[in-house]
Amino acid sequence: MTAMRVDAKVVMLGKESVGKTSLVERYVHHRFLVGPYQNTIGAAFVAKSINVADKVITLGIWDTAGSERYEAMSRIYYRGARAAIVCYDLTDSSSFQRARFWVKELQTFEEHCKIYLCGTKNDLVEGDRGARQVDYHDVQDFVEEIGAQHFETSSKTGNNVDALFMKVAEDFSNSALELLPEEKGVNLGQKKNSYFYTCCHH
């Protein structure tokens, strides 16, 4: 077996303890680990294949550590990423400020990277509306402004998690399709040749 073939690089970004690792854990291993909070060290990579319209797409997911210590390193994780899932904790408004920072960072350095804003720990605000500190509509406005997608998920219940990654894979698949006409452009060149050929022949 050789190294895994990865179609799309996906990077998880966001303040520490917002639940990036839990989100990946839920999506990849379909489970939610209870127990003491464990920081991610550096970054963790995991590949996951997903079926999109008869096609198999392998997402290479980089789950980065939220700690400021790794900020200088973060570029190596998001460079060349096709999608970034920027997470914030619905019960922590400061985590949304941090999400804005990451969006800015991506817009500056990685303009081809699609951004998905993801509010985590939805289960906490569902049971207790007072716990919500990040307003849905505020985020929606922000998302429209920057041309991103918006999800609210719960890794504990699994709510909306698959939908989020499905959307990421679909968008990738569609954008890959968009590339095809360009190839036709090369074909046009061939036509041109044949045109010249016919021309000369004429």
Binding site: N39, I41, V46
Partner: protein, 508 residues
């Protein structure tokens, strides 16, 4: 800045020591706990502060006496109530602890780290904010003594030892109620210091404080509390950190060879070290030619891998500084478990931060080769019994032992038998070993061997140029018996050598 590589000039090996490649795992004992800043010779100071400067020898004598007194006091008072139960995993709870409570005061060993501006960076128990005045007072003590061109090393009072380690721009302090000597505590503080360096590198640490003296380093260390807590616990439980050695996983030689060669072949251009661990036991280590991994760096790596479950979830990729190798730059480590629920952790250390997929490929190749040669199965089976009962040696009165081979920097130890089945008893045994260790390696009066009798066990420690040995016997054993047991044990170890140790050091 305190001179880091300040050699003490006292060698622990006997003068006619062999020329075994001890250098490639230089003993960090040679690293002096004496900061290089000592300029003045005035020991003076207030009556309530014992400063150990220059007058070390005199001081040390007192220390030893004190320790023995405490030891006796302890043996009598054992089993009394004031032994706080330590809970390893409850790092979070430890952080929330009330620092004014008695329980907080009763912790056996506190560790504090703060900046030269007195700003708190780390505390083992309780929150840094709540302890900012305490750390401020500590910094004041340090500065007060330094104003006289002197250095505060430790304070002994009321059964407590307060040990200071100055590593500009940081100050590390340990407050201990244990019987450990100052130099043991300094060694532990050094570990905490290296742990911080491994996350930041020395230049980065210096830079942030040069830019702003009042910088809050916790911002950069966020998320490393578990790593440090794990390290402090390891210092109390793993004899390897005391011995400057690593425990090897007992493995039959054919399996070991298979594992080693498979790992050796799975190389990549920028790979410097390939390390296979089972828990904190070393299974195999392959290194680049002429590059050596210091045991301190190995302990830091193995502790890092054990500190986060995120390495189980996927393949980890993290910058890491190996401070003993080079404190000024980052390596990049690929950390992963061979299988999700396996205890076998593979750490691949590279110089290139873009090397992730190359190393991921190395891991795959290693795993395939292991499986093809059926070595993976054999390795898994060895993990079911990662240790051996002491009864294999065939000395009835021998309860436990720790044997370090100085040439390989590895040690072996049987499983802990019945009297040491509780955490409390295990900690007690470790403390006994630590006590013997500090006597053998006394800074001014090192010993070659020591025999010690307590109500609960008889202990013998012996150090030669080739090995260091600690034995624990039942209280009924005698000195004569202990001596004959050593001969028998050494014979047994020789016979089992290729199973217990990793005999050849392989390079790519």
């Amino acid at each position: 800045m305190a001179a880091d590589v300040h050699s003490k000039g006292v060698t622990w090996d006997t003068p006619n020591g062999n020329l075994a490649p001890v250098e490639h795992l230089p003993s960090s004992r040679s690293e002096s706990p004496t900061p290089g800043l000592v300029e003045g010779t005035e020991p003076g100071g207030g009556e309530w502060v014992e400063e150990e400067v220059e007058e070390k020898e005199v001081e040390e004598k007192e220390v030893v006496e004190k320790t023995e007194e405490q030891q006796r006091g302890r043996a009598e008072g054992e089993g009394s109530v004031n032994e706080p139960k330590r809970e390893v995993q409850a790092v979070v709870r430890e952080k929330e602890e009330d620092v004014t409570s008695d329980a907080w005061r009763l912790h056996k060993k506190h560790v504090f780290v703060f900046s030269e501006a007195g700003k708190p960076i780390y505390t083992r128990y309780g929150s840094e904010e709540a302890l900012s005045t305490t750390m401020g007072v500590m910094m004041a003590l340090v500065s007060f003594v330094e104003a006289d061109k002197n250095v505060i090393l430790s304070i002994h009072a009321d059964g407590f030892r307060v040990v200071f380690l100055r590593k500009s721009p940081l100050v590390l302090v340990c407050v201990s109620r244990s019987d450990q000597s100052d130099s043991e505590l300094w060694r532990e503080l050094h570990y905490v210091y290296y742990q911080i360096l491994s996350l930041l590198t020395l230049p980065q640490l210096q830079r942030v404080f040069q830019q702003r003296q009042s910088f809050d380093l916790r911002r950069l260390l966020a998320g490393s509390e578990r790593v440090t807590a794990g390290l402090l616990r390891l210092l109390e439980t793993d004899a390897g950190l005391m011995l400057n050695a690593t425990m090897s996983l007992p493995l039959c030689s054919t399996t070991r060879n298979n594992v080693c060669t498979s790992l050796q072949i799975a190389s990549s251009k920028n790979l410097v070290f390939s390390i296979l661990l089972a828990g904190n036991r070393l299974v195999a280590l392959i290194r680049k030619k002429e590059q050596h991994l210091h045991h301190t760096d190995l302990h830091l790596l193995s502790n890092l891998a054990a500190s986060s479950s995120s390495f189980r979830q996927g393949e980890g990729w993290t910058p890491v500084c190996l401070p003993k190798f080079n404190s000024s730059g980052f390596f990049h480590a690929h950390i992963s478990y061979l299988e999700q629920d396996s205890d076998l952790c593979l750490i691949l250390v590279s110089t290139d931060r873009e090397d992730f997929f190359n190393l991921s490929d190395c891991k795959q190749r290693f795993l395939e080769r292991l499986k093809k040669r059926n070595a993976y199965q054999a390795l898994q089976e060895a993990l079911h019994s990662p240790t051996y009962p002491v009864s294999q040696v065939g000395i009835p009165e021998l309860w436990h032992f720790v044997y370090k081979s100085k040439s390989s920097g590895l040690y072996t130890s049987p499983e802990l038998p019945v009297p040491y089945h509780t955490e409390e008893q295990q900690d007690r045994l470790m403390e006994l070993y630590q006590h013997l260790h500090s006597r053998l390696h006394h800074p001014t009066r090192p010993l070659r061997s020591i025999y010690r009798s307590t109500n609960t066990e008889n202990l013998l420690a012996w150090s030669t140029s080739g090995f260091e040995l600690y034995l624990c016997f039942s209280p009924l054993a005698t000195k004569a018996l202990a001596m004959s047991a050593v001969t028998k044990l050494l014979k047994w170890i020789r016979k089992e050598e290729d199973r217990l140790f990793i005999l050849n050091s392989l390079t790519y």
